[in-house]
Amino acid sequence: MSFVPGLGIVKGMALTLRRFFEPKVTVRYPEVKADVPPKFRGRLQLLYDEYGTIKCETCFQCAQACPIECIDMGGIDTKGRYHVHWGAPETYGERREESALRRSGRPVPDAAYAHFEPIDLGPVDAVLEEHDHDPAHMLAILEGTQAAYGYLPVAALKRISHRTGAWYATIYGTATYYRHLHFEPPGDTVQRADAAERRPGDAAYVDALSAAIGGRVH
């Protein structure tokens, strides 16, 4: 504090007046995005190794361990198929709710899954009834479902998960392990060939990609 009363106040006011004209430091957020450090931990994402291949093997261990089942698996699985299994992000909330409900032991309405391709659930229910809704007979149930539909629709897997009480991740893991179980309708390969014909440029790219990652695309 100085000897002249009020000098400190005047100094402070001079400082604020100087700052009044100085350039501002605010980041105008929606227009200017803040810097995100490379190690930023705010968001779940898959890492790439030094060859540019995704490190995730789609083993589903993390999804199985996640207590609120918020982890989503997307990408190329061990059979070379691309999947996003949980659907659109807008439905995460519903899924969390459903997950909590399911683990509480109460029956869960599956209306939330209407956005998957709608199928007639009668055959699945029949298969489940046959096996007494027992999750221990999961392979048999899945085989029965595949026999009924020709492939394993996601909605059917959901149904099995609801009815047997087994985690969807577990069922998915089982289904991906056995080579004779399919997730695509039998016509899928034909369609892919069609697509390759329609866009010839893609075929070369897919071949190159296939060669690069060890022939696992098709």
């Binding site: 106040i9 402070g12 006011m13 400082l15 604020t16 007046l17 700052r19 009044f20 004209f21 100085e22 501002k24 430091v25 605010t26 105008r28």
Partner: protein, 450 residues
Amino acid sequence: MTVVARTWNRLTLPGKVVFTVVPLLVVLAVALVVALALFGEAVLEILGANLPIVRFAVAATAILLMTIPTAFLIIYMEMKGIALMNLRIGPDRVGPFGSLLSVVHGLKVLMKEDFTPTGADPTVFTLAPVVVYLSAVMALLVIPFGPGLFGVDMNIALLYFFAVGGLTVVGLLMGGWASFNKYSLLGGLRSAAQIISYEIPLTLSVVGVLILAGTMSLNQLVQNQAGWFTDWYIWQQPLGALIFFIAATAEANRTPFDLTEADSEIVAGFATEYSGMRFGFFFFAEYVNVFIVSALMVTLFFGGWNAPFPFPATSLELDPASLGIGLLLLIAIVPVVATLVFAAPFWLLRPAWPAWYGLVIGFVLFNLVAVAAVVGWAYVSFDWVAGLVWFLVKTYFFVFVFVWMRGTLPRVRIDQLMNFAWKWLMELAFINIFITAGAILVIDALSSGS
């Protein structure tokens, strides 16, 4: 009927007041217009005979309408000014440079739920903001905005001003007491102590000016200061002006004397329990008070609406009527031509831009020039425009000083506040009076002796 009754019941109390008064005013206005049209001469005669009353009614309405934009402007100044001092950008989304944000705030306040806390006294609780706001508006009535631009020219205007300005404390105390909240109570009591204490140095500080001027009429005071800026009272009363400024800061509850609503101590003081438009009245009243205090500062010490230097007496002898039909042509052609002229350089220098860019820029430039020309013409031709411009410039400078202090200073403590008022400001004000009176005596003695 039931629909009307239900709607009526759903209105809050201010809503009920507004919905009763507005149709009444509309009916009155329509009646006046109809009367003027039917019996023009007679009505004008009656109005002319009662000129003071008509003048008062018009001034009161105008001032009431003026307070809201004033408050909006000062709120915007505060938000933007403090933000810039903080190295922030501040409001920049609504309107140009965010200038409409305070308007949006006002709308928000209107739409918010307006509740009364359980246990509060509803009548007093509702009346408190009205009292605060009214005292601010009533004080504005005597302020001379320009030559001839004032509500009432009272010969005791200054006294009236202090009396009405002191009414604020009643409203704050009412709000603090009726809110049924300890923070509000403390805030109300703080405001009572603070404002009453600072009334004294505030009033004493202007006594020096009164001795010099020999009048309490604010108009007369301003006219006394006409001429060069050296004729302003600030040069004869620097100490008085300083005391007035400090005391006025406390009177307007501004930083560093904003103890009544010290947000970090007693949450929001008397306004803790207020919401919606009732809070809005408190809020607007605070900023109107800032304006009033700055205006009085300007009026008393900085020459009011006088320009700092006597403007050379020029008069533009414009008689638009003499052009006859040419005037119409001028009005039709000048904007188009001027827009094209202003747009031309952009078309030449920036051929890459779409043509309408230049057109828009040219139109905007033309408008700026036209407005500047009109204002300049008005400034030269009309006394009151010149006076109003100077008055507003000076007043908003002091408003900016208030904002600036708010951006810089921390808050004082209640005991320091009271000590400062009673132990320093009051004594200084007395000394100021004695010095002024003594100087006048000496000068009189010298001038009569010689």
